[in-house]
Amino acid sequence: MTLAIDVRGAGVQYGRTVAVENVSFKLEGGKIYGLLGRNGSGKTSLLSLLASFREPTKGEVLIDGKIAFENAEIMSQVCFIQENGHMMDGYKVKDAIKLAASCWPKWDEQYANHLLDLYQLPLKKSISSLSRGMKSALGVTLGLASRAPVTIFDEAYLGMDAPTRYAFYDEVLRDYMEHPRTFILSTHLIEEVGNLFEEVLILDRGRLLLHEESDTLRQRGVSITGPAERVDDFVIGLQVLGEQRLGGTKSVTVYGELNQERVNRARTDGLDLGPVPLQDLFVHLTKKGGEGA
Protein backbone atom coordinates (compact mmCIF):
# COMPACT_ATOMS: atom_id res chain seq x y z
CA MET A 1 0.00 0.00 0.00
CA THR A 2 1.40 3.39 -0.92
CA LEU A 3 0.29 6.81 0.23
CA ALA A 4 1.06 9.93 -1.74
CA ILE A 5 2.54 12.85 0.18
CA ASP A 6 1.77 16.39 -0.89
CA VAL A 7 3.48 19.24 0.94
CA ARG A 8 2.16 22.65 -0.09
CA GLY A 9 4.01 25.79 0.88
CA ALA A 10 4.79 24.39 4.33
CA GLY A 11 6.59 26.49 6.88
CA VAL A 12 7.75 25.96 10.45
CA GLN A 13 8.69 28.80 12.74
CA TYR A 14 10.02 28.63 16.30
CA GLY A 15 9.44 32.06 17.74
CA ARG A 16 11.37 34.33 15.39
CA THR A 17 13.44 31.52 13.91
CA VAL A 18 12.27 30.17 10.57
CA ALA A 19 13.17 26.48 10.35
CA VAL A 20 11.26 25.58 7.18
CA GLU A 21 10.11 28.14 4.64
CA ASN A 22 7.61 27.68 1.85
CA VAL A 23 8.53 24.08 1.04
CA SER A 24 6.45 22.30 -1.58
CA PHE A 25 6.91 18.84 -3.07
CA LYS A 26 4.98 15.74 -3.98
CA LEU A 27 6.06 12.18 -3.29
CA GLU A 28 4.08 9.56 -5.16
CA GLY A 29 4.98 6.95 -2.54
CA GLY A 30 6.21 3.38 -2.73
CA LYS A 31 9.84 4.46 -3.03
CA ILE A 32 12.86 5.02 -0.83
CA TYR A 33 13.45 8.74 -0.50
CA GLY A 34 16.55 10.39 0.88
CA LEU A 35 16.20 13.68 2.70
CA LEU A 36 19.54 15.43 2.85
CA GLY A 37 20.57 18.68 4.39
CA ARG A 38 23.22 20.20 6.57
CA ASN A 39 22.77 20.60 10.31
CA GLY A 40 19.97 23.06 10.99
CA SER A 41 18.64 22.89 7.44
CA GLY A 42 15.15 21.98 8.69
CA LYS A 43 15.10 18.23 7.98
CA THR A 44 13.69 17.18 11.36
CA SER A 45 11.18 20.04 11.36
CA LEU A 46 9.96 19.01 7.92
CA LEU A 47 9.70 15.35 8.91
CA SER A 48 7.85 16.39 12.07
CA LEU A 49 5.18 17.87 9.84
CA LEU A 50 4.79 14.62 7.91
CA ALA A 51 4.44 12.71 11.19
CA SER A 52 1.98 15.24 12.66
CA PHE A 53 4.41 15.98 15.47
CA ARG A 54 3.58 19.61 14.88
CA GLU A 55 1.19 21.63 12.79
CA PRO A 56 2.72 23.68 9.97
CA THR A 57 2.97 27.36 10.79
CA LYS A 58 2.13 27.99 7.15
CA GLY A 59 0.88 25.82 4.30
CA GLU A 60 -0.42 22.29 4.58
CA VAL A 61 0.67 18.67 4.53
CA LEU A 62 -1.57 16.15 2.82
CA ILE A 63 -1.09 12.42 2.95
CA ASP A 64 -3.31 10.29 0.78
CA GLY A 65 -5.09 13.52 -0.13
CA LYS A 66 -6.05 14.30 3.47
CA ILE A 67 -4.71 16.85 5.94
CA ALA A 68 -2.31 14.79 8.06
CA PHE A 69 -2.30 16.71 11.35
CA GLU A 70 -4.43 15.01 14.02
CA ASN A 71 -5.99 12.75 11.40
CA ALA A 72 -6.29 9.37 13.15
CA GLU A 73 -6.50 7.43 9.90
CA ILE A 74 -3.31 9.02 8.55
CA MET A 75 -1.33 9.15 11.77
CA SER A 76 -1.74 5.41 12.27
CA GLN A 77 0.01 4.92 8.93
CA VAL A 78 3.00 7.22 9.40
CA CYS A 79 5.79 5.98 11.64
CA PHE A 80 8.49 8.52 12.47
CA ILE A 81 11.56 7.15 14.20
CA GLN A 82 14.25 9.21 15.89
CA GLU A 83 16.73 7.21 17.95
CA ASN A 84 14.69 4.96 20.29
CA GLY A 85 11.34 5.81 18.76
CA HIS A 86 10.41 8.29 21.51
CA MET A 87 9.66 5.55 23.98
CA MET A 88 9.66 6.41 27.68
CA ASP A 89 13.04 5.83 29.26
CA GLY A 90 11.41 4.00 32.17
CA TYR A 91 10.04 1.42 29.75
CA LYS A 92 11.69 -1.92 29.28
CA VAL A 93 12.38 -3.04 25.73
CA LYS A 94 9.48 -5.51 25.95
CA ASP A 95 7.12 -2.69 27.07
CA ALA A 96 8.12 -0.61 24.06
CA ILE A 97 7.49 -3.56 21.75
CA LYS A 98 4.14 -4.23 23.44
CA LEU A 99 3.04 -0.60 23.06
CA ALA A 100 4.10 -0.44 19.41
CA ALA A 101 2.37 -3.76 18.71
CA SER A 102 -0.88 -2.41 20.11
CA CYS A 103 -0.65 0.88 18.20
CA TRP A 104 0.45 0.00 14.66
CA PRO A 105 -2.30 -1.67 12.64
CA LYS A 106 0.14 -3.57 10.41
CA TRP A 107 2.58 -4.54 13.16
CA ASP A 108 4.47 -7.72 12.30
CA GLU A 109 5.33 -9.56 15.50
CA GLN A 110 7.34 -12.26 13.78
CA TYR A 111 9.47 -9.68 12.02
CA ALA A 112 9.88 -7.74 15.27
CA ASN A 113 11.20 -10.89 16.96
CA HIS A 114 13.58 -11.44 14.06
CA LEU A 115 14.93 -7.89 14.42
CA LEU A 116 15.20 -8.22 18.21
CA ASP A 117 17.38 -11.28 17.65
CA LEU A 118 19.35 -9.61 14.87
CA TYR A 119 20.23 -6.61 17.04
CA GLN A 120 20.48 -8.74 20.21
CA LEU A 121 18.17 -6.44 22.13
CA PRO A 122 17.60 -7.52 25.75
CA LEU A 123 13.84 -7.57 26.33
CA LYS A 124 14.05 -7.14 30.08
CA LYS A 125 16.44 -4.18 30.11
CA SER A 126 15.09 -0.69 30.59
CA ILE A 127 15.56 1.66 27.66
CA SER A 128 17.48 4.16 29.77
CA SER A 129 20.16 1.56 30.45
CA LEU A 130 20.73 0.77 26.76
CA SER A 131 23.72 2.15 24.90
CA ARG A 132 23.06 4.74 22.21
CA GLY A 133 23.58 2.15 19.50
CA MET A 134 21.12 -0.22 21.20
CA LYS A 135 18.56 2.57 21.51
CA SER A 136 18.94 3.21 17.80
CA ALA A 137 18.55 -0.52 17.12
CA LEU A 138 15.33 -0.47 19.14
CA GLY A 139 14.05 2.50 17.12
CA VAL A 140 14.90 0.77 13.88
CA THR A 141 13.15 -2.40 15.07
CA LEU A 142 10.01 -0.44 15.92
CA GLY A 143 10.06 1.39 12.61
CA LEU A 144 10.60 -1.65 10.42
CA ALA A 145 8.19 -3.95 12.28
CA SER A 146 5.48 -1.27 12.28
CA ARG A 147 5.14 -1.91 8.54
CA ALA A 148 3.60 1.55 8.43
CA PRO A 149 2.89 2.59 4.81
CA VAL A 150 5.04 5.68 5.43
CA THR A 151 8.09 4.90 7.55
CA ILE A 152 10.48 7.73 8.33
CA PHE A 153 13.91 7.31 9.88
CA ASP A 154 15.50 10.56 11.03
CA GLU A 155 19.14 9.75 11.71
CA ALA A 156 17.72 6.77 13.55
CA TYR A 157 20.87 4.73 13.10
CA LEU A 158 23.29 7.16 14.78
CA GLY A 159 25.29 5.44 17.44
CA MET A 160 25.12 2.10 15.66
CA ASP A 161 28.46 0.57 14.74
CA ALA A 162 29.22 0.03 11.05
CA PRO A 163 28.20 -3.66 10.85
CA THR A 164 24.88 -2.89 12.56
CA ARG A 165 24.24 0.03 10.21
CA TYR A 166 24.92 -2.14 7.16
CA ALA A 167 22.61 -4.80 8.60
CA PHE A 168 19.97 -2.08 8.89
CA TYR A 169 20.44 -0.95 5.27
CA ASP A 170 20.08 -4.58 4.15
CA GLU A 171 16.91 -4.93 6.20
CA VAL A 172 15.41 -1.75 4.76
CA LEU A 173 16.06 -2.95 1.23
CA ARG A 174 14.84 -6.49 1.86
CA ASP A 175 11.72 -5.35 3.66
CA TYR A 176 11.02 -2.76 0.98
CA MET A 177 11.24 -5.42 -1.72
CA GLU A 178 8.96 -7.81 0.19
CA HIS A 179 6.54 -5.20 1.51
CA PRO A 180 6.66 -2.16 -0.78
CA ARG A 181 5.95 1.06 1.07
CA THR A 182 7.36 4.54 1.41
CA PHE A 183 10.61 4.99 3.29
CA ILE A 184 12.05 8.40 3.98
CA LEU A 185 15.59 8.34 5.30
CA SER A 186 17.20 11.46 6.62
CA THR A 187 20.93 11.06 7.00
CA HIS A 188 24.37 12.57 6.98
CA LEU A 189 25.91 9.21 6.06
CA ILE A 190 25.20 9.73 2.36
CA GLU A 191 27.98 7.50 1.05
CA GLU A 192 26.67 4.54 3.04
CA VAL A 193 23.01 4.84 2.32
CA GLY A 194 22.94 6.84 -0.91
CA ASN A 195 22.58 3.78 -3.12
CA LEU A 196 19.22 2.99 -1.54
CA PHE A 197 17.63 6.29 -2.55
CA GLU A 198 15.34 6.38 -5.54
CA GLU A 199 14.64 10.06 -5.12
CA VAL A 200 16.56 12.69 -3.23
CA LEU A 201 15.36 15.88 -1.59
CA ILE A 202 17.92 18.40 -0.44
CA LEU A 203 17.00 21.05 2.08
CA ASP A 204 19.16 24.07 2.64
CA ARG A 205 18.47 26.74 5.20
CA GLY A 206 14.84 25.72 5.46
CA ARG A 207 14.17 25.73 1.74
CA LEU A 208 13.89 22.87 -0.70
CA LEU A 209 16.96 23.14 -2.87
CA LEU A 210 16.33 20.15 -5.04
CA HIS A 211 14.01 17.18 -5.53
CA GLU A 212 15.14 14.71 -8.19
CA GLU A 213 15.47 11.06 -8.95
CA SER A 214 18.82 10.04 -7.57
CA ASP A 215 20.00 8.63 -10.92
CA THR A 216 19.17 11.90 -12.64
CA LEU A 217 20.94 13.80 -9.88
CA ARG A 218 24.03 11.65 -10.20
CA GLN A 219 24.07 12.22 -13.96
CA ARG A 220 24.01 15.95 -13.38
CA GLY A 221 27.35 15.91 -11.77
CA VAL A 222 30.45 15.24 -13.82
CA SER A 223 34.04 15.38 -12.79
CA ILE A 224 36.48 16.47 -15.47
CA THR A 225 40.12 15.63 -14.92
CA GLY A 226 43.12 16.49 -17.03
CA PRO A 227 45.76 19.12 -17.69
CA ALA A 228 44.77 22.30 -15.84
CA GLU A 229 44.70 24.63 -18.84
CA ARG A 230 42.55 22.30 -20.92
CA VAL A 231 40.17 21.69 -18.05
CA ASP A 232 39.79 25.44 -17.44
CA ASP A 233 39.07 25.93 -21.09
CA PHE A 234 36.60 23.07 -21.19
CA VAL A 235 34.47 24.23 -18.24
CA ILE A 236 33.85 27.74 -19.55
CA GLY A 237 30.07 28.18 -19.54
CA LEU A 238 29.47 25.25 -17.17
CA GLN A 239 28.36 25.52 -13.54
CA VAL A 240 31.46 24.67 -11.56
CA LEU A 241 30.78 23.21 -8.12
CA GLY A 242 34.35 22.69 -7.00
CA GLU A 243 37.87 22.09 -8.11
CA GLN A 244 41.04 20.41 -6.93
CA ARG A 245 44.53 20.77 -8.28
CA LEU A 246 47.59 18.59 -7.96
CA GLY A 247 50.60 19.89 -9.86
CA GLY A 248 49.58 20.40 -13.44
CA THR A 249 46.51 18.18 -13.14
CA LYS A 250 43.17 19.60 -12.27
CA SER A 251 39.86 17.99 -11.40
CA VAL A 252 36.70 20.07 -11.65
CA THR A 253 33.21 19.06 -10.62
CA VAL A 254 30.48 20.58 -12.73
CA TYR A 255 26.73 20.52 -12.22
CA GLY A 256 24.58 19.86 -15.28
CA GLU A 257 24.41 17.17 -17.93
CA LEU A 258 27.00 17.30 -20.70
CA ASN A 259 25.65 17.08 -24.23
CA GLN A 260 27.19 14.71 -26.79
CA GLU A 261 29.20 17.51 -28.35
CA ARG A 262 30.86 18.27 -25.02
CA VAL A 263 31.53 14.59 -24.38
CA ASN A 264 33.22 14.29 -27.78
CA ARG A 265 35.26 17.42 -27.12
CA ALA A 266 36.45 16.03 -23.80
CA ARG A 267 37.68 12.91 -25.59
CA THR A 268 39.46 14.98 -28.19
CA ASP A 269 41.08 17.13 -25.49
CA GLY A 270 42.22 14.03 -23.59
CA LEU A 271 40.10 14.78 -20.55
CA ASP A 272 38.67 12.09 -18.29
CA LEU A 273 34.96 12.31 -17.46
CA GLY A 274 33.75 10.56 -14.35
CA PRO A 275 30.72 10.32 -12.09
CA VAL A 276 30.42 12.41 -8.96
CA PRO A 277 29.41 10.66 -5.73
CA LEU A 278 26.09 11.82 -4.32
CA GLN A 279 27.86 13.06 -1.21
CA ASP A 280 30.16 15.31 -3.25
CA LEU A 281 27.21 16.74 -5.13
CA PHE A 282 25.44 17.37 -1.86
CA VAL A 283 28.50 19.05 -0.35
CA HIS A 284 28.92 21.30 -3.34
CA LEU A 285 25.24 22.17 -3.60
CA THR A 286 24.94 23.14 0.04
CA LYS A 287 28.20 25.00 0.49
CA LYS A 288 27.86 27.85 2.97
CA GLY A 289 27.43 31.22 1.35
CA GLY A 290 25.05 29.85 -1.21
CA GLU A 291 27.52 29.50 -4.06
CA GLY A 292 26.61 25.84 -4.31
CA ALA A 293 23.04 26.40 -5.41
Binding site: A72, F80, Y91, K98, L99, S102
Partner: protein, 238 residues
Protein backbone atom coordinates in the same frame (compact mmCIF):
# COMPACT_ATOMS: atom_id res chain seq x y z
CA UNK B 1 0.55 -11.56 11.72
CA UNK B 2 -1.48 -8.62 12.97
CA UNK B 3 -4.29 -8.63 15.50
CA UNK B 4 -7.32 -6.38 15.19
CA UNK B 5 -6.39 -3.02 16.60
CA UNK B 6 -8.36 -1.74 19.60
CA UNK B 7 -9.80 1.74 19.62
CA UNK B 8 -6.92 4.18 20.22
CA UNK B 9 -8.55 5.56 23.38
CA UNK B 10 -8.58 2.04 24.83
CA UNK B 11 -4.99 1.46 23.71
CA UNK B 12 -3.91 4.56 25.65
CA UNK B 13 -6.00 3.85 28.75
CA UNK B 14 -5.01 0.17 28.90
CA UNK B 15 -1.36 0.97 28.42
CA UNK B 16 -1.39 3.77 31.00
CA UNK B 17 -3.29 1.55 33.42
CA UNK B 18 -0.76 -1.24 33.07
CA UNK B 19 1.95 1.33 33.82
CA UNK B 20 0.31 3.01 36.81
CA UNK B 21 -1.62 0.20 38.50
CA UNK B 22 1.47 -1.12 40.28
CA UNK B 23 2.10 2.35 41.66
CA UNK B 24 -1.55 2.69 42.76
CA UNK B 25 -1.60 -0.72 44.43
CA UNK B 26 1.78 -0.07 46.08
CA UNK B 27 0.64 3.31 47.35
CA UNK B 28 -2.53 1.94 48.92
CA UNK B 29 -0.75 -1.05 50.41
CA UNK B 30 1.69 1.25 52.20
CA UNK B 31 -1.13 3.58 53.19
CA UNK B 32 -3.26 0.78 54.66
CA UNK B 33 -0.32 -0.85 56.45
CA UNK B 34 0.56 2.48 58.10
CA UNK B 35 -3.08 3.00 59.06
CA UNK B 36 -3.47 -0.47 60.55
CA UNK B 37 -0.15 -0.06 62.34
CA UNK B 38 -1.26 3.19 63.93
CA UNK B 39 -4.54 1.66 65.04
CA UNK B 40 -2.96 -1.47 66.43
CA UNK B 41 0.14 -0.11 68.06
CA UNK B 42 -0.64 3.48 69.03
CA UNK B 43 -4.28 3.42 70.22
CA UNK B 44 -3.40 4.94 73.60
CA UNK B 45 -1.30 7.76 72.24
CA UNK B 46 -3.90 9.27 69.97
CA UNK B 47 -5.13 12.81 70.50
CA UNK B 48 -8.72 13.38 71.63
CA UNK B 49 -9.74 14.48 68.16
CA UNK B 50 -8.22 11.35 66.63
CA UNK B 51 -9.93 9.24 69.27
CA UNK B 52 -13.38 10.61 68.54
CA UNK B 53 -13.14 11.33 64.81
CA UNK B 54 -10.90 8.42 63.88
CA UNK B 55 -7.61 8.54 61.99
CA UNK B 56 -9.14 7.65 58.66
CA UNK B 57 -11.34 10.75 58.50
CA UNK B 58 -8.27 12.94 58.29
CA UNK B 59 -6.34 10.72 55.92
CA UNK B 60 -7.99 11.78 52.66
CA UNK B 61 -5.47 14.46 51.74
CA UNK B 62 -2.56 12.12 51.05
CA UNK B 63 -4.31 10.20 48.22
CA UNK B 64 -5.35 13.52 46.71
CA UNK B 65 -1.71 14.60 46.55
CA UNK B 66 -0.75 11.19 45.17
CA UNK B 67 -3.29 11.52 42.34
CA UNK B 68 -2.23 15.12 41.75
CA UNK B 69 1.34 13.92 41.21
CA UNK B 70 0.22 11.10 38.89
CA UNK B 71 -1.76 13.69 36.94
CA UNK B 72 1.27 16.00 36.66
CA UNK B 73 3.35 13.18 35.20
CA UNK B 74 0.85 11.99 32.59
CA UNK B 75 1.43 14.36 29.68
CA UNK B 76 5.17 15.06 30.02
CA UNK B 77 6.03 11.39 30.48
CA UNK B 78 3.61 9.71 28.11
CA UNK B 79 2.19 11.88 25.34
CA UNK B 80 5.27 11.85 23.13
CA UNK B 81 5.36 8.05 23.14
CA UNK B 82 1.74 7.70 22.11
CA UNK B 83 1.76 10.33 19.36
CA UNK B 84 4.97 8.88 17.94
CA UNK B 85 3.15 5.55 17.81
CA UNK B 86 0.43 7.00 15.61
CA UNK B 87 -2.08 7.99 18.31
CA UNK B 88 -3.72 11.40 17.97
CA UNK B 89 -3.60 13.92 20.78
CA UNK B 90 -7.38 13.71 20.98
CA UNK B 91 -7.23 9.97 21.61
CA UNK B 92 -4.46 10.47 24.16
CA UNK B 93 -6.70 12.91 26.02
CA UNK B 94 -9.55 10.39 25.81
CA UNK B 95 -7.35 7.60 27.19
CA UNK B 96 -6.10 9.80 30.00
CA UNK B 97 -9.65 10.71 31.00
CA UNK B 98 -10.60 7.03 30.91
CA UNK B 99 -7.65 6.20 33.17
CA UNK B 100 -8.89 8.73 35.70
CA UNK B 101 -11.96 6.56 36.40
CA UNK B 102 -10.21 3.45 37.82
CA UNK B 103 -7.57 5.59 39.54
CA UNK B 104 -10.18 7.72 41.34
CA UNK B 105 -12.67 4.88 41.80
CA UNK B 106 -10.24 2.44 43.41
CA UNK B 107 -8.94 5.19 45.69
CA UNK B 108 -12.50 6.20 46.60
CA UNK B 109 -13.53 2.61 47.35
CA UNK B 110 -10.50 2.05 49.61
CA UNK B 111 -11.06 5.37 51.38
CA UNK B 112 -14.75 4.64 51.90
CA UNK B 113 -14.20 1.12 53.15
CA UNK B 114 -11.63 2.48 55.58
CA UNK B 115 -14.34 3.88 57.89
CA UNK B 116 -16.03 0.58 58.81
CA UNK B 117 -12.65 -1.15 58.89
CA UNK B 118 -11.36 1.45 61.33
CA UNK B 119 -14.42 0.94 63.55
CA UNK B 120 -13.85 -2.83 63.46
CA UNK B 121 -10.21 -2.36 64.40
CA UNK B 122 -11.21 -0.07 67.28
CA UNK B 123 -13.74 -2.62 68.49
CA UNK B 124 -11.13 -5.35 68.26
CA UNK B 125 -8.31 -3.41 69.92
CA UNK B 126 -10.62 -1.81 72.42
CA UNK B 127 -10.46 1.92 71.69
CA UNK B 128 -13.14 4.58 71.89
CA UNK B 129 -16.07 4.49 69.55
CA UNK B 130 -15.60 6.73 66.55
CA UNK B 131 -18.24 9.45 66.50
CA UNK B 132 -17.87 10.32 62.82
CA UNK B 133 -20.10 7.88 61.00
CA UNK B 134 -20.52 9.07 57.42
CA UNK B 135 -22.85 7.55 54.86
CA UNK B 136 -20.72 5.18 52.83
CA UNK B 137 -22.39 5.96 49.52
CA UNK B 138 -22.15 9.70 50.08
CA UNK B 139 -18.54 9.43 51.18
CA UNK B 140 -17.71 7.25 48.19
CA UNK B 141 -19.14 9.75 45.71
CA UNK B 142 -17.44 12.64 47.49
CA UNK B 143 -14.07 10.89 47.54
CA UNK B 144 -14.41 9.81 43.91
CA UNK B 145 -15.09 13.33 42.65
CA UNK B 146 -12.46 14.85 44.92
CA UNK B 147 -9.78 12.43 43.71
CA UNK B 148 -10.89 12.95 40.11
CA UNK B 149 -10.53 16.69 40.58
CA UNK B 150 -6.98 16.47 41.96
CA UNK B 151 -6.00 14.08 39.17
CA UNK B 152 -7.25 16.41 36.40
CA UNK B 153 -5.74 19.49 38.05
CA UNK B 154 -2.37 17.69 38.19
CA UNK B 155 -2.83 16.70 34.57
CA UNK B 156 -3.46 20.37 33.70
CA UNK B 157 -0.23 21.42 35.44
CA UNK B 158 1.78 18.78 33.54
CA UNK B 159 0.12 19.68 30.26
CA UNK B 160 0.90 23.34 30.86
CA UNK B 161 4.62 22.60 31.23
CA UNK B 162 4.50 20.36 28.14
CA UNK B 163 2.54 22.72 25.91
CA UNK B 164 4.26 25.98 26.87
CA UNK B 165 7.58 27.01 28.34
CA UNK B 166 8.45 26.62 32.02
CA UNK B 167 7.39 30.17 32.88
CA UNK B 168 3.87 29.57 31.56
CA UNK B 169 3.95 26.21 33.35
CA UNK B 170 4.64 27.95 36.67
CA UNK B 171 1.79 30.42 36.04
CA UNK B 172 -0.60 27.55 35.23
CA UNK B 173 0.54 25.73 38.39
CA UNK B 174 -0.32 28.77 40.49
CA UNK B 175 -3.64 29.26 38.71
CA UNK B 176 -4.46 25.60 39.27
CA UNK B 177 -4.78 26.40 42.98
CA UNK B 178 -8.03 28.20 42.16
CA UNK B 179 -10.04 25.13 41.12
CA UNK B 180 -8.54 23.21 44.04
CA UNK B 181 -9.59 25.90 46.51
CA UNK B 182 -13.02 26.01 44.89
CA UNK B 183 -13.41 22.24 45.08
CA UNK B 184 -12.31 22.15 48.71
CA UNK B 185 -14.71 25.01 49.48
CA UNK B 186 -17.63 23.29 47.77
CA UNK B 187 -16.81 20.00 49.48
CA UNK B 188 -16.29 21.54 52.92
CA UNK B 189 -19.98 22.31 53.34
CA UNK B 190 -20.05 25.23 55.76
CA UNK B 191 -16.54 26.28 56.72
CA UNK B 192 -13.25 25.74 55.02
CA UNK B 193 -9.78 25.86 56.51
CA UNK B 194 -7.51 27.87 54.25
CA UNK B 195 -3.99 28.91 55.21
CA UNK B 196 -4.87 28.57 58.89
CA UNK B 197 -8.08 30.61 58.85
CA UNK B 198 -11.66 29.41 58.63
CA UNK B 199 -13.69 30.76 55.75
CA UNK B 200 -17.49 30.64 55.87
CA UNK B 201 -19.18 28.97 52.95
CA UNK B 202 -22.92 28.60 52.45
CA UNK B 203 -24.26 25.12 53.02
CA UNK B 204 -25.58 23.60 49.83
CA UNK B 205 -27.32 20.27 49.17
CA UNK B 206 -24.99 17.32 48.62
CA UNK B 207 -26.16 16.67 45.06
CA UNK B 208 -25.51 20.31 44.09
CA UNK B 209 -22.06 20.10 45.72
CA UNK B 210 -21.18 17.05 43.67
CA UNK B 211 -22.56 18.50 40.44
CA UNK B 212 -20.49 21.63 41.01
CA UNK B 213 -17.32 19.57 41.48
CA UNK B 214 -18.17 17.52 38.39
CA UNK B 215 -18.66 20.74 36.45
CA UNK B 216 -15.26 22.04 37.56
CA UNK B 217 -13.67 18.71 36.61
CA UNK B 218 -15.30 18.85 33.16
CA UNK B 219 -14.01 22.39 32.60
CA UNK B 220 -10.47 21.37 33.56
CA UNK B 221 -10.66 18.39 31.20
CA UNK B 222 -11.77 20.74 28.41
CA UNK B 223 -8.87 23.10 29.20
CA UNK B 224 -6.50 20.14 29.01
CA UNK B 225 -7.82 19.16 25.60
CA UNK B 226 -7.60 22.76 24.39
CA UNK B 227 -3.96 22.91 25.52
CA UNK B 228 -2.95 19.59 24.00
CA UNK B 229 -4.92 19.33 20.77
CA UNK B 230 -2.32 21.24 18.79
CA UNK B 231 0.70 20.79 21.05
CA UNK B 232 3.99 20.19 19.28
CA UNK B 233 5.56 16.90 20.27
CA UNK B 234 8.69 17.32 22.33
CA UNK B 235 11.46 14.77 22.34
CA UNK B 236 11.75 14.47 26.08
CA UNK B 237 10.59 16.64 28.94
CA UNK B 238 11.38 14.38 31.89
Amino acid sequence: MTAKRKHPVLIVSNSLWSGYRASLIGYWMIFVVVFVGINLFLPNNLSDQMETQGIWAGAGFSPKVYLLVIGILLTPVSMTSYVSNGITRKHFVGGTILLSIPMALISAVVMTLGFPVEQLLRDWVGGKEIMANPSLLQSGVEFFLGFLAYYVVGWMIGSGFYRYNWKAGVVISILSLLPLILIEAVGSNGTMELFGSAIAWPEIPFIVEMLLILFIVAIIMAINYAMLRKAAIKRKLI
